[in-house]
Symmetry: none
Subunit: 221 residues, 2 copies
Amino acid sequence: MAKVGLCEDDPAIRRVVSEGLRLHGHETVVAYDGGEALRRFADDTTLDVLILDIGLPDADGRDVCVALRSSGQVAPVLFLTALGELHERLSGFAAGADDYLAKPFSVAELAMRVEALARRGRVVAPSDPSDLILDPARHAVVCGDNEVLLTPTEFRLLAAVTSRPGEVVRRRAVIAAAWPDGAHVSDNTLDSYATRIRRKLEQIESPLQLRSVRGVGYQLR
Amino acid sequence: MAKVGLCEDDPAIRRVVSEGLRLHGHETVVAYDGGEALRRFADDTTLDVLILDIGLPDADGRDVCVALRSSGQVAPVLFLTALGELHERLSGFAAGADDYLAKPFSVAELAMRVEALARRGRVVAPSDPSDLILDPARHAVVCGDNEVLLTPTEFRLLAAVTSRPGEVVRRRAVIAAAWPDGAHVSDNTLDSYATRIRRKLEQIESPLQLRSVRGVGYQLR
DNA sequence: CGCCGTCGTCAGGTAGTCGTCAGGTTGAGG
DNA sequence: CCTCAACCTGACGACTACCTGACGACGGCG
């Protein structure tokens, strides 16, 4: 039996899922939109699994995932999406997701995946509460009293890296996350954005830097 | 970078998957049927993820999974199946699977799922805190509180030796692992990299050293 | 229309990585 | 002791991934 945090705007799906999971012996905590999810799930350490809809009225589920991660939530995340599109899945994984399910889906399968996730748990150590905070609502990075606004692309890019603190995120994955529509961007464009983000991090005197690992990708240190 | 055990009877899929994973930076060990999978995967503690086809010539992938689990294999399992049938998925999860992918699938998505599993699966704590840890996520060697970044070639080389702790790995095998594209490298190049890696190990005060065994190869002690 | 911010690209420079070499050191065998 | 081969190691040139400042294109907005 697992405790599940569910964020979904469609009342019908919300009901079916929470009822279905209850029948499989799981407890569900519900949120209606991204803001609600942040308030209810960010600090709840008793949650075993999070289920997030990608298309929410007030935010993108991936941003919600990133925000939850940066506020210390370590439970594994499963994304729901109406689209079966590949790039959605890839950028979801890049945002730090652990699993993915396309609508329409069977509640029985969802329950199975939830159990698999709860069983496995999540390794990534809850990184020390680094004082770098990504605010998806305002597209800003905050460090202590300083803050800078990021452009949408900059935000997605930085989010992809911060979602795995300390780890090296491959260039390919960063591009998938920052350009979720699968647009072709020159390799150099990524470099450019890295420079812009670095300048902004410097501006707020962030102790964490966006380091590049030659031949592999980027890393937050 | 993860080490993946793949069991699949279709040669075409086998090739596409192992080649595709290689392009994403993963190493693949292949088995053709269930028996082969048991022999090769049951005791291999270096595997990060297992990919099993459900429909094998000599056995059901789910049975293979159960058998591997009962012989102590703890790596997360992803099932492949030709059918998108729901009951296949459910019984797969029941057999102890961690993920599932229906054919036809995108290799990019498979790679993403493999990475998600490998990330989660690395739960196994470093048995000895004084041990040397090769961390694929950060492309680094860690020893206690010290860590050094490795270049891609250094990482592959060291990984080849650490994957068989204590054993002597032949020079030919090390070269094959560190230069997977089959490039011709002078014998001296290997010596060179050994020196570079030694310096880095020394830098983090590792108790383990990269020793050379004259006329045979290298060994970690 | 003109202004402004974001976007993607480019060109030039920098520095890390790569593979090789040359000269020194070590070890085995006669 | 000498010889030879295997190995170590510091250095070097070539390559290229990456950095960075600048620019034109485009869309939103007054």
